[in-house]
């Protein structure tokens, strides 16, 4: 054990992660060349992101801390985007371990028919909940508590995926798939409640015109210009008292370019990162489609990017971007300036839109409410997120400034699990047992009332009859 730890520390994540991914790929019968290239890119992506994040933080952190000191806007936490959460996950042993352990756990759950969703095809998105497991480990000091938390979040995710699957399939028109990505789907159960209220209030009958809205909100779909404008606005606010000098304006404009750069660089770097796990996902997908598993009804977990472009999804996401920005400033209890994850907003409403059958107004209302809750969850863990980032080598140059990944942090469900596991040691056994008990109750209620629940989540009876 001691030797293993020495080896892991000596080589570091940029070497160990590719090795783990390569071995895992070969084990799952990925062709050797693809497996090797993919693994290599993952190490490169990990390293590249760390370098870029360092550069961004050194220019953004001082401006944000000025903004907090000079204005009433108390948002000392910078949203550095989901790649930061992924980096933390894979730079920690828990992340590498769960890649292998979680895959095995998912296979067991699937083969014993505990769940109908085949999760490993979406292996890339494991990091979204494993991140929360990593901060459970950080808060409690226990690796195995972290793993247990990851397992519970995995179970909850698959329950949501099973529940939402027919609704996603029918609405988006793709048979046999579901989504197991926390950010897009974890708002769906909440949306079921909101939909019920909106139907009572008759607001669910109001239809907005997506084309008209898209033209009006089109700007928010251009990440680079959006980044520049947000950077400009916040830098001007930060330096409000000193706008008379040329120096100040030089600083303001430089900040705007940096925030624009965040938006331009991120997709490229995260693209490298993702490449490591694409061969695994694709190979498993092909093997499943060829019918290697003798099972009739099951759902293949698929990357949510295939849902993104649907008209109402895109439109609701774009409309929500300025609303979320405004709510982040106006609603008390939030400490995070959403930035790098804002372009992901259409992803963040996929589960909600399926429940709402494409109703834009209902989706925007449910989304806004859900992400106010999400903001509180995210703000609560900003300090421990920052600690986790510092532990893997990110430097935060301005005291009092924190970092978080908005899309990953705004998950009230993961937050509840985290709170249960990171509770004071005296009550921890109780809170953990309670969280598993709640899961089991909901799981068995779902199993008993499956059809009714899936209809409440947006599927029609006709579709359910056709596919079962």
């Amino acid at each position: 054990m001691q030797t293993l730890k020495l080896v892991l520390d000596l080589f570091g994540p940029s070497i160990i992660v590719p090795v783990v991914v390569f071995v895992l790929s070969l084990f799952l019968k990925v062709p050797r060349k693809q497996a090797f290239q993919g693994a290599l890119y993952m190490g490169i992506g990990l390293t590249a992101f760390n370098i870029i994040l360092g550069g961004l933080m050194s220019s953004l952190a001082p401006v944000v801390s000025e903004m907090v000191n000079n204005t009433g806007i108390n948002l000392p936490t910078i949203d550095v985007g989901w790649p930061a959460a992924a980096m933390i996950v894979y730079a920690n042993q828990i992340g590498m371990f769960y890649l292998v352990f979680g895959l095995a756990f998912d296979l067991v759950l699937f083969l014993t028919k505990w769940t109908d969703t085949f999760h490993p095809t979406d292996i890339w998105n494991y990091y979204q909940f494993v991140f929360w497991a990593a901060i459970v480990q950080l808060s409690t000091g226990s690796f195995w508590l972290g793993i247990l938390a990851a397992m519970l979040m995995n179970l909850i995710l698959l329950l949501i995926a099973d529940w939402l699957a027919p609704s996603l399939q029918e609405y988006y028109g793709y048979d046999g798939v579901t989504s197991t990505c926390y950010a897009p789907v974890n708002g769906a159960p909440f949306a079921v409640l909101v939909k019920w209220v909106l139907m009572k209030l008759r607001l669910h009958e109001i239809k907005l015109n997506p084309e008209d809205l898209r033209n009006r909100f089109g700007f928010w779909g251009e990440p680079v210009s959006m980044g520049v404008i947000i950077g400009l606005a916040f830098a001007i606010l930060a330096k409000w008292s000193n706008l008379g000098s040329v120096d100040t304006w030089a600083g303001v404009l430089k900040t705007a370019i940096v925030t624009g750069a965040v938006m331009a660089i991120y997709p490229a770097v995260s693209g490298l990162f993702v490449k490591g796990l694409i061969p695994i996902s694709q190979t498993l997908n092909t093997r499943l489609r060829k019918g290697e598993l003798k099972r009739k009804n099951f759902y293949i977990a698929i990357d949510p990017a295939v849902f993104f472009g649907e008209e109402a999804t895109l439109t609701s996401g774009l409309v929500l971007i300025p609303i979320i920005l405004a709510l982040s400033i106006l609603v008390p209890g939030n400490n995070t300036l959403p930035l790098a994850d804002l372009p992901a907003m259409p992803f963040m409403v996929i589960g909600i839109i399926a429940v709402m059958r494409g109703n834009i107004l209902s989706t925007v209302i449910a989304g806004a409410l859900w992400y106010v809750l999400g903001n509180w969850a995210n703000s609560d863990i900003a300090a421990v997120f920052t600690q986790a980032a510092v532990n893997v080598g990110v430097q935060i140059p301005a005291a009092g400034t924190m970092v978080t990944s908005w899309a990953i942090g705004v998950s009230p469900i993961c937050w509840l699990v985290y709170k249960a596991f990171a509770a004071p040691a005296t009550v921890r056994a109780l809170t953990i047992a309670a969280s598993f008990a709640v899961y089991l109750v909901v799981y068995f209620l779902f199993k008993r009332n499956r059809i009714a629940w899936q209809i409440a989540a947006g599927a029609s009876r006709e579709y359910l009859d056709r596919v079962s």
């Binding site: 089109g218 251009e222 694409i278 472009g309 008209e311 895109l314 992803f347």
Partner: protein
């Protein structure tokens, strides 16, 4: 004649990478010269300087400069990949012809 392609998905990342690799394989096999640029679906309405856009998921978004948009989802999932490949190659060949005729 080089055919200029754009491959677009939600984040310009996961599905784009998969579909881009598949398209490269197809076009290399057919010995067609091409360039591929990644993009986000939100950006395709205003794209210029491209001959064909392949989107990885369903969308009703159209390009304002009349660049054709194909739904390349089959290359991601493998379902209906052969039909899509035929349709895609027809489109690419048509573009090649058009370009040849435009600047002989």
């Amino acid at each position: 004649m080089t055919v200029r392609l754009v491959v677009a998905c939600g984040g310009g990342i996961f599905t784009t990478t998969v579909v881009t690799d598949r398209i490269k394989e197809i076009l290399w096999k057919e010995k067609i010269r091409f360039t591929i640029t990644p993009a986000k679906i939100t950006e395709i309405a205003n794209l210029r300087d491209a001959d064909l856009i392949v989107v990885t998921g369903k969308t009703t978004t159209r390009n304002a400069n009349n660049i054709p948009v194909l739904i390349g989802m089959p290359l991601f999932t493998g379902v209906g990949a052969e039909e899509f490949t035929e349709q895609f190659l027809r489109e690419v060949r048509r573009i090649e012809e058009e370009k040849k005729n435009a600047n002989p």
